[in-house]
Amino acid sequence: MDIFLQLTVSGLSTGMVYALAAAGFVVIYKASDVINFAQGDLLLLGTYLVFFAVAQVGMPWGVGVPATIALAVAVALAIERLVLRPLVGEPVISMIMVTIGLSSILRGAVNAIWGPAPRSFDSFLPEGDIAVGPAVLSAGRLLSIPIALAVLAALWLFFRHARDGIAMRAIADDQQAALSMGISIPRVFGVAWALAAASAAIGGIMLGDIVGVSPNVASIGLRVFPVVILGGLDSIRGAVAGGAVIGLLEVYTGGYVGHGLSLIVPYAVLILVLMVRPYGLFGKEIIERV
C-alpha cells in the first residue's frame, strides 16, 4: 500500500509535467494546426534558462522564474515569426520536419552553451519527505501537482473567457470566418506559441527541480504524443487527463512489472487509442479517415 501511494504520487507529478507539455502542444495545434515536435525542447529550454537565472546569475526564485518564462516566451515568439509564419499552409510533412529541425537547433544550442553534463540547482520545492501513514512521499513531488494543476486551470480559463482565448477557438473552428470578424491571425498564432512556451517553461522548471538539469529533459517531448492522442488533440482537459493516465501507467508498470516495459506502455496505449478512438477522450470527433 505504501509503495502504491508513493508510485501514485510520483506518477501524478510526472503526469502533470507531461500535461503541461501536452497543453502547450494542444494550444499550438488548436490555433495553427502545427504539430510541434519541439515541445520537449521548449521544456529543456525552460530547465536550462532557470538553471542559468538561479544558479549561474544568482537571482532569487521569485525573480528567476518569471525571467525564465519571459525569455522562453521571447524565444517562442521569435520561432513563430521567423520559422512558422513563412510556412503557413504547407503540407503536414513540412510542418513535422520544420519542428523537428527546430528541436534539433534548440537541443544543439543548449548543448553548445551548457554542455552535455548534468547540472543541478538548489531546489525551490521543499526537499523533505512527508510521512502519510506507512508511506514516505516526497514533498516536492507532492507540491508540484497542485502547481501544475493551477497553471493548467489558468490555461483552461484563458480559453474559456479571455479575448485571445476565444479568438483562438474561433480560428480553430473556421479560419476564414474568424478573419472576416476582424481577428488577427498572426497575433493569435503568436499568443499560442507564447502560451505553449510559458507552460512548457513551467514544466521544465519543475522537471529540473524534481529530476535534475540534463539534456534528457527533452525526451519528454516524445511522451507528449501518447498523452495528447489519449486526451484528444485539441483539448486542454484531455491533456490533463491523458497526462495523469500516462504518468500513472508508466510508474505502475515500472514499479510492478519491470523489464523496461514502462518505456513502451505509453506507445502501446497510443496505438490502441488510434485504432479504437482516434479523437481521444475529449477531442472533437472529426478525424481524417481514409
Binding site: 503536414v92 513540412s94 516524445l222
Partner: protein, 352 residues
Amino acid sequence: MSFECGVFHTRYESDMGLRPRPAQRIRLGAFAVFVLAFPFFASTYWLDLANQVAIATVGAIGLNILVGYTGQISLGQGAFMAVGAYAAGLFTLNLGLPWGASIALACVLTAAAGTFFGLPSLRLKGLYLAIATLAAQEIAEWAMTHWTAVTGGTEAIVLPSPALFGIRLNTAFNFYWLAVLAAAGTALFAANLFRTRAGRAFVAVRDQDIAASVIGVNVFRTKLLAFATSSFFAGLAGALIAYYRTIITWERFTLETSIVYLAMIIVGGLGSIRGSFFGAALITLLPAMIANLGRAVQETAPAVAGLLPHAQQAVFGIVIILFLVFEPKGLSKLWGNVKDYFHVWPFAYRRE
C-alpha cells in the same frame, strides 16, 4: 520533360527511354565514369564516406517511395532498417546462410514487417499515421534493447565480413563496389517503378486518394504495396550497414535515424530519385564537413573549434529549416534550375 532542338526520335522506344536526350546521357556517362574511377584516387576516409552515402541513398530512395511518392509520412525508417540489419545478421549467424541469401531474405522480411506496420494507414492519414509510426519506432527500439534472446539486447552482434568471388569485402575499397551496385540498382528500379501501373497508382494516391479510387486504384492495396516496397529498400540499407560495419548495434536504428532519413528526402526533394541521392550525400557529408571545418580552424580559433561538435545538431536543424522555408522542393529543384539555365545558354530569356 523538356524538349531540345535538334533531337528527333524516330522510334517509340528511344522516345520513352529513361534518358531520351543526349545531354542527359552525357551527364549520366560522366557521372558513371566518376563513380567508377573515384575509389582509385580517393583516400580511405573519402571511400568510407562514399560508402555511407551509397547506403544512405538506398535507404533514402526507399523512404522517398513511401513519403515523397505515396504521401504516407513514416517516422519508422529506423525500425525498418533495424529489421533488415538484425535479420541479415541473424540469418547468417544462426542458420548459416551465405551473406547474399541473408540480405535477400532480410529485405523480404523487412517488406513483410513494413506491410504490417502499414496496416494503420488503412484508417489513419497524415499526422495520425506519422504518430502511429512513431509509436512503432519506439516499440522497435524497445524490442532491440530488451528482447535479448533474439537481438542480444544492448550487446553488439558481430558478423563475418562478406566475400565475393573469394575477395573479402572487409575494406572500404572492396565494399564500395557492392554499395554502389546496390545504390545504382535501387535508383534504376525506382526510376522504372514510376513508369508502371503500380508506381503511377502510388502518385495518384498521394495527390488525390478519392479520385484514385474512383478511377479504379485499390487505395489500401496500393498503400500497403508502397509500405512493402519502401521497407524492402530500408531493409536493404540496414543489411548493407550491418555487413559494412560487421557489427550491429541498436544505436544505429533509433528515432534519430528515422529523422535523418526524413531530412535527406526533404533536403533532396520529395518525390525525386536524384533528390534522394543529393539529400543522402548532403546529410551524410554534413557532419564530416563540420568536423573538417573544426580541424581547419583549430589553430586560428580554438574557441570556435571547441563549439563545433555541439553546433553539428543545430546546423542539421538549420539546414532543414532553410530548405523548408526557401526551397521546399529541395536540392533536386536547385539542380533543375541549373540545368534549365544552361539548357538555353547563352540565349537565356531574362525578364528584367
